[in-house]
């Protein structure tokens, strides 16, 4: 980091101290917006969310509709964009036609829904389970901690994608099973983060005070401690979404995730991988979409980490 940015942060901090009413969240928010990369990341994510919500209105075709006999298009036809000189009498398909004579653009648009759903749902699942496990382990310590964390160590010992493949193999291929698998393999990361934070927080004065005032275990853990350890969890979660989307795409690429004809980027990429030279548009667009989404979450995650880092205060 250059001197200039350090000084920016310093001024910002001075500002933060002078205005006592400014909350941590507002400071974070401002810091986040000072970084161009995180703004770009956030912008892409907002755009993707809008696309996912408005998919039926954006997509010109039903993503499952086979156009054989409906339009005069050929299998794996290259993109046809009227603005770029494609003859007006040909139907417009801005990302071309896929291997089953469907509109690639519509499939890509609807694929956004699947990918975002995968990202958010697996991370939510993993955060909920991981937080409970980590918090219990960190707060109670002793044998509970030992049992929970050794199980987490075992899960961490496997490469995450490999473990996900193994879990899907047992459960059977399918989007829901893939979600579950990715969720399960991401639990340890959150459990460890939460446990570490709980360990450092549980001996603090305000927790002791709450205990002295007669607060129950549940109250202390979830009302006093948890809100104060959210910071690392948010960063981890944002970065985790990127990993989850990538893993889900990988599973679908291998045929273990979303099943046809669901429009999912990984499976779109996987089913047309042999056409990389003859119909590159079928591989490029889904691949680019995966890249863009993962990049966006990574940029935002990095930005959040810097913005929330207490050492920079």
């Amino acid at each position: 980091m250059t001197n200039q940015t350090t000084s920016t942060v310093a001024t910002l901090d001075a500002e933060a101290i002078s205005l006592e009413s400014v909350s941590l969240w507002r400071i974070t928010w401002r810091r986040l917006f000072r970084r161009k990369s995180s703004v770009v990341g956030l912008g892409i994510i907002v755009a993707l969310l809008l696309i996912a919500i408005a998919a039926p209105w954006i997509a010109p075709y039903d993503p499952l509709q086979v156009l054989i006999g409906i339009e005069d298009v050929k299998i794996r036809q290259a993109p046809c964009i009227h603005m770029l000189g494609c003859p007006q009498d040909q139907p417009q398909h801005i990302m071309g036609i896929d291997g089953n004579v469907r509109d690639q653009f519509s499939r890509l648009i609807f694929g956004t829904r699947v990918s975002l759903f995968v990202g958010f749902s697996t991370v939510t699942f993993a955060i909920v389970i991981g937080t409970i496990l980590g918090a219990l382990g960190g707060y109670f310590g002793g044998w509970i901690d030992n049992v929970i964390m050794r199980v987490m160590d075992v899960l961490l010992a496997f490469p995450s994608l490999l473990l996900a493949i193994a879990i899907v193999t047992v459960l059977g291929p399918g989007l829901i099973n893939a979600l579950l698998a990715i969720g399960i393999v991401s639990i340890p990361a959150y459990a460890r983060v939460v446990r570490g934070s709980v360990l450092s927080v549980r001996e603090m004065e305000y927790v002791s005070a709450s205990r002295a005032l007669g607060g129950g275990t549940f109250h202390i853990l979830f009302v006093r401690i948890l809100p104060n350890i959210l910071t690392p969890l948010i960063v981890q979660g944002t970065l985790g979404i990127a990993t989850a989307i990538l893993d889900a795409a990988a599973l679908s690429f291998l045929g273990l995730g979303a099943q046809p004809p669901t429009p999912e980027w990984g499976s779109m990429l996987g089913s047309e991988r042999n056409q990389i030279f003859t119909a590159p548009h079928l591989v490029f667009f889904p691949g680019f979409a995966i890249m863009l989404t993962v990049l966006a979450f990574n940029l935002l995650g990095d930005g959040l980490r810097d913005a929330l880092d207490p050492r920079l205060k």
Binding site: L64, V66, I68, G69, I75, R76, G99, N100, V101, P173, G255, Q259, P260, P261, S271, R273, N274, Q275, I276, F277, T278, A279
Partner: protein, 560 residues
């Protein structure tokens, strides 16, 4: 529980192979040395009667260079069948030495000894099978000194290697790549005739496929032309009959149903499914000449079923081995994608295997079909057999055990300087007759690694192609064709009713290990393949599927 048994069983097999590999090498080998030099003692394989065997009653060495096959019935396809790769001849001593305890020894599975133009020099697992020219070959010496067989499951990767010049030829071009190769002056495209069938199978012991009207409805509701037009390469055609029409009597009888979704829905309504039903589409993601783009065809059939018949089909991709096991045992409760490529060009190879009385693949077999097939298979004259095949084909159409879709064209590609580029209709290219532009090494890339090189007990084309370079049978198929030509036999002549075939063997033929070929090698090879009670009847899985299906095993002990 079942998984545990499988694991335990595989451990046992591995252990027994280890034992066999360590202990089996030295024992019986030493005593057999005398056989080559001593006087010829003729061997014989004979079943007690025709009830305890399939088609072959006896195989007998009459003298050193004459073998007779006595059959329990007339077999007009005898020569076509005997020429097929799994019936290649192994040396007697080698068969005994590599038999092993439970399954054939690793030497037996990896380094077969034959009489072919090439011999195995090394099988690098996961990488390649390497062959070197056999100096003592009885025929013309191979044009390239070294042959390398490699594999790659992705069509695009195969083509890329060919374009970059690291290999000389590839199998199964991707359908979209035909034009690319045709336009490239550095490459030669060879189209393989569509001697195969792709069908959508059903098992009539599962509802709703137990109702013939449902099966007919699906036949009406699938647009074959749309599938062939969009997902098959040039040279493919829609199937009017199960067997490709190039084969005599294949297309006797009525042509298949026209595409008529309204009629299909009507039949479904009659059968009690006016709103359609839910089912599954099972397939394995393996490219075959009859089905070059499996996932795309599966999604198209799924879309067609929904649009034309309102049938909701869920796609289920299965592992290849598990899929074949389940489909051939008739255990799949939905529709499944399977096909068949000709082993030998005879109508019995297509119809009898699928619709015979003992095949549970489509559920309960239909006597209306198999009774006609049994009669037809014993008649040599195609014209005389025609009425039976007409009746059988019409019964197949009427009863719809499965829905036929297409005969798929496929293709190979070679570098332009490779002479005699082949795309055999039986997928048994003979690389010995191709010269790779004067280079010493000929490299060919196929879809997958061979399972084993003991092809008497293998069925997949990738294994058989490797064996075809090394092994020879009494007859063979002409290069790039389907006609039979004499190989290890100079001639096999039948008696009048085609039930006894006498083969005169080629003299002066040497095996790769230097031993001479004679009639006892033939008898011992067939003892190994046919006689289920023989200690030599050991293979990779031990099923000897082609021996069983084409001839029927001998002396089967009842299952315990």
């Amino acid at each position: 529980m079942k998984n545990k048994i499988v694991v335990l069983f595989s451990l046992l097999v591995v252990a027994s192979m280890l034992l066999a590999a360590c202990g089996g090498g030295t024992g019986p080998g030493a005593s057999d040395d005398a056989q080559d030099s001593g006087p010829f003692v003729a061997k014989k394989l004979e079943a007690a009667d025709c009830d305890s065997t399939g088609i072959i009653k006896a195989v007998e060495a009459v003298d050193q260079y004459t073998v007779t096959f006595t059959l329990c019935q007339s077999d007009p396809a005898f020569l076509s069948k005997i020429a097929f790769s799994p019936f290649a001849i192994y040396p007697e001593e080698w068969i005994e030495r590599t038999a092993g305890e439970e399954s054939r020894t690793s030497e037996g599975l990896e380094k077969p000894i034959g009489t072919g133009p090439y011999m195995i020099s090394e099988w690098k697992r996961g990488e390649s099978v390497n062959f070197k020219a056999f100096d003592g070959y009885w025929g013309e010496q191979p044009l390239a000194e070294t042959l390398v067989l490699r594999w790659q499951s992705e069509a695009a990767a195969r083509l890329l290697e060919l374009q970059s010049g690291t290999i000389d030829g590839i199998d199964n071009l991707g359908p979209a790549d035909f034009d690319v190769v045709a336009a490239d002056s550095n490459l030669t495209l060879v189209e393989r005739p569509a001697l195969n069938i792709f069908y959508i199978g059903m098992t009539n012991t599962f509802a709703p496929y137990d109702d013939v009207r449902v099966r007919q409805a699906i036949a009406y509701g699938i647009d074959q032309q749309r599938i062939v037009d969009n997902f098959y390469p040039a040279g493919s055609e829609i199937a009017t009959h199960f067997t490709p029409c190039a084969i005599p009597n294949a297309c006797a009888g009525d042509a298949w149903y026209p595409f008529d979704p309204a009629k299909g829905r009507e039949l479904l309504a009659d059968a009690g499914f006016p709103e359609g039903f839910s089912t599954k589409i099972y397939y394995r993601d393996v490219v075959r000449g009859y089905l070059p783009q499996v996932p795309n065809v599966a999604q198209d059939v799924q879309a067609q079923l929904k649009a034309n018949l309102n049938i909701d089909a869920e796609i289920v991709v299965m592992e290849s081995g598990a899929f074949i096991e389940a489909s051939s045992a008739g255990q799949l409760d939905g529709l499944y994608f399977l096909g068949w490529g000709a082993d030998y060009p005879h109508v019995t190879n297509f119809l009898d295997y699928h619709f015979g009385s003992a095949n549970p693949q489509f559920g309960t077999p239909h006597p209306e079909i198999y009774e006609n097939l049994e009669k037809g298979s014993q008649i040599a004259d195609p014209a005389e057999a025609e009425p039976f095949y007409t009746a059988a084909n019409n019964a197949i159409k009427e009863l719809v055990p499965m829905v036929i879709v297409a005969h798929g064209g496929s293709g190979t590609a070679y570098r332009a300087d490779v002479t005699n580029p082949q795309a055999s209709p039986l997928t048994n290219e003979q690389f010995a007759v191709s010269d790779p532009g004067g280079r010493d090494v000929f490299v060919f890339m196929q879809n997958a690694e061979p399972i084993s090189l003991f092809c008497a007990d293998e069925t997949d084309g990738e294994s058989l192609r490797a064996c075809d370079q090394v092994m020879e049978a009494l007859y063979g198929y002409e290069v790039n064709g389907t006609a039979v030509v004499p190989m290890l036999a100079t001639a096999c002549t039948p008696n009048e009713d085609l039930s006894v075939w006498t083969c005169t063997l080629r003299e002066g033929v040497k095996f790769h290990d230097g031993t001479s070929f004679d009639a006892n090698d033939v008898v011992t090879t067939f003892t190994m393949g046919l006689d289920a009670s023989s200690p030599l009847h050991k293979g990779n899985t031990g099923v000897f599927e082609y021996y069983d299906y084409l001839w029927g095993l001998m002396n089967l002990t009842p299952a315990e």
